[in-house]
């Protein structure tokens, strides 16, 4: 499963957002993920993907595709 697919399912499982509503190229807010929810999502990603998402990602990353690209570029934690 691609990182993007995994993220989509994570958002669905964690927040109950319909998978069909998640547009990887639209802002998070377009499917009702506000800044607090994105912060919570980043926290979950660290555990789910064994990475450390940098703090600034919460403000610089605005779409799911950007987030997937960022995660794919991060080193996996031991």
């Amino acid at each position: 499963m691609s990182t993007l697919d995994r993220l989509t399912h994570l958002i669905h499982d964690k927040f109950g957002v319909d998978i069909a509503a998640i547009d990887a190229d639209a802002p998070f807010a377009s499917y009702n993920l506000d800044s607090l929810t994105v912060a919570e999502l980043m926290f979950e990603i660290d555990d789910a993907f064994h990475v450390t998402v940098p703090d600034e990602a919460a403000t610089t990353v605005t779409t799911l595709r950007q987030l997937a690209t960022l995660i794919d570029g991060l080193p996996e934690k031991a």
Partner: protein, 403 residues
């Protein structure tokens, strides 16, 4: 405005005794306690009264982000109170106020966050908004569209009662047209329970009958039993009430002992009770029932009974008194609100609930009309008082009158 009576238009309850005032009341007068056994890592088992329904259902999973049990219970009870008052929307949300009492706010969130941090893990990013003491108020305001004063009262075990007293004052002053008020508490988390246990105030689970671990006024009482839940009221001025109210909020008083952090004192309780009566223009003999603070601590119960004897004087023996905490536990910041709701139910039913679990009354608690064993019919009951005496010395007494 000053002469308006304040009516109770609706009540919503989520308590260990049930998911509505009616259900809680019926279980109470049937003599069934909600106290059970609870286990936490590293602690001896405790007796506690839990809400057993899934309180998270009031919000979608997306809406639950940044909320916790205390805010979910508050919102659920507020929605029930609004439904009871047949209110679903209001023309001017800025004329609606929320007066919410909670002693410990999002204690479980802080507990879990600090636990993770001290264990070498990471503290979740929403620990502050979910755990802050006014988090529940914010969640209620957002989802009920309350845009007037949204205030949180942290006055330990008097929080809910103080919030209600302040709400009624705000209505009398004309600051709001609808006052939603009450209390909520969700203290049954490991660290919070451990802190209460460390203070040596908790009753151990009664090995013979865990449901009777909380025994207010009994010679063998062994301490308080923690509970959780929420109770909220919709208050309105008489001229704004669309229907007959459940009861009248006749008056209240708030005073402080100013003597000790935790030990209750007769002086402050007497002044509170006298001030509450003075606020309503009622005489001691007019009050037919007292829902006592009655936590079942060794120190607290005799002090409260002495204060009642002092204020009621020759009428003390005729004053029916019970502590419903035996059945629903001590809900801390929500305790006064739940007990106020049960006091209103008593006025409506003309029935006075009993203190459960008392085999032998402590002689130091004698001299008032304890209702023990079974609920009593009281068809002539017109006025009742509910006491909340908090750690920190703040005392509140609320007086209600039959509609």
């Amino acid at each position: 405005m000053a002469t308006s009576r304040i009516g109770i238009a609706g009540i919503g309850v989520t308590s260990p005794l049930g998911d509505s005032l009616q259900e809680s009341w019926e279980r109470l007068v049937a003599g069934r306690s909600a106290v059970g056994r609870m286990s936490f890592d590293g602690l001896p088992d405790i007796a506690a009264a839990q809400v057993t329904s899934d309180v998270s259902q009031v919000l979608t999973r997306l809406q639950q982000v940044g909320t916790e049990r205390v805010s979910q219970m508050a919102l659920g009870a507020v929605r029930k109170a609004l439904a009871d008052a047949r209110l679903s929307a209001w023309p001017d949300p800025e004329r609606v106020g929320l007066y919410l009492g909670t002693g410990m706010g999002g204690a479980a969130t802080m507990d879990a966050g600090f636990g993770a941090l001290y264990g070498g893990g990471r503290i979740p990013p929403l620990t502050v908004p979910a755990g802050m003491v006014n988090g529940a108020s914010a969640v209620v305001a957002i989802h009920a569209d309350i845009r007037g004063p949204v205030l949180t009262y942290a006055v330990a075990c008097a929080s809910g009662s103080v919030a209600m007293a302040e709400a009624a004052h705000a209505l009398r002053r004309g600051e709001v047209d609808i006052a939603i008020c009450g209390g909520v508490e969700a203290p049954l988390a490991r660290g919070t329970v451990a802190a209460w246990h460390a203070l040596r105030t908790l009753a151990p689970p009664d090995e013979g009958n865990v449901s009777q671990s909380c025994r207010p006024f009994a010679a063998n009482r062994a301490g308080l039993v923690l509970g959780e839940g929420a109770a909220f009221f919709v208050l309105r001025r008489e001229e704004d009430l669309p229907d007959a109210p459940r009861a009248w909020f006749a008056g209240s008083a708030v005073r402080c002992d100013a003597l000790h952090l935790t030990n209750p004192q007769v002086r402050g309780q007497v002044s509170t009770l006298k001030a509450a009566l003075a606020a309503t223009g009622l005489a001691p003999a007019d009050i037919g029932y007292c829902n006592a603070h009655g936590t079942a601590t060794v120190a607290g119960d005799p002090v409260e009974c002495e204060a009642l004897r002092d204020v009621w004087g020759e009428h003390a023996a005729a004053l029916r008194v019970s502590s419903t905490k035996a059945a629903h536990g001590h809900l801390l910041g929500a305790g006064g609100a739940l007990e106020a709701a049960l006091t209103v139910a008593a006025l409506q039913a003309g029935v006075v609930p009993a203190t459960l679990g008392v085999a032998t009354l402590d002689a130091r608690c004698a001299g008032v009309g304890h209702v023990l064993g079974e609920a009593q019919r009281a068809p002539g009951l017109r006025h009742a008082i509910s006491n909340s005496f908090a750690f920190g010395g703040t005392n509140a007494a609320l007086v209600f009158s039959r509609a």
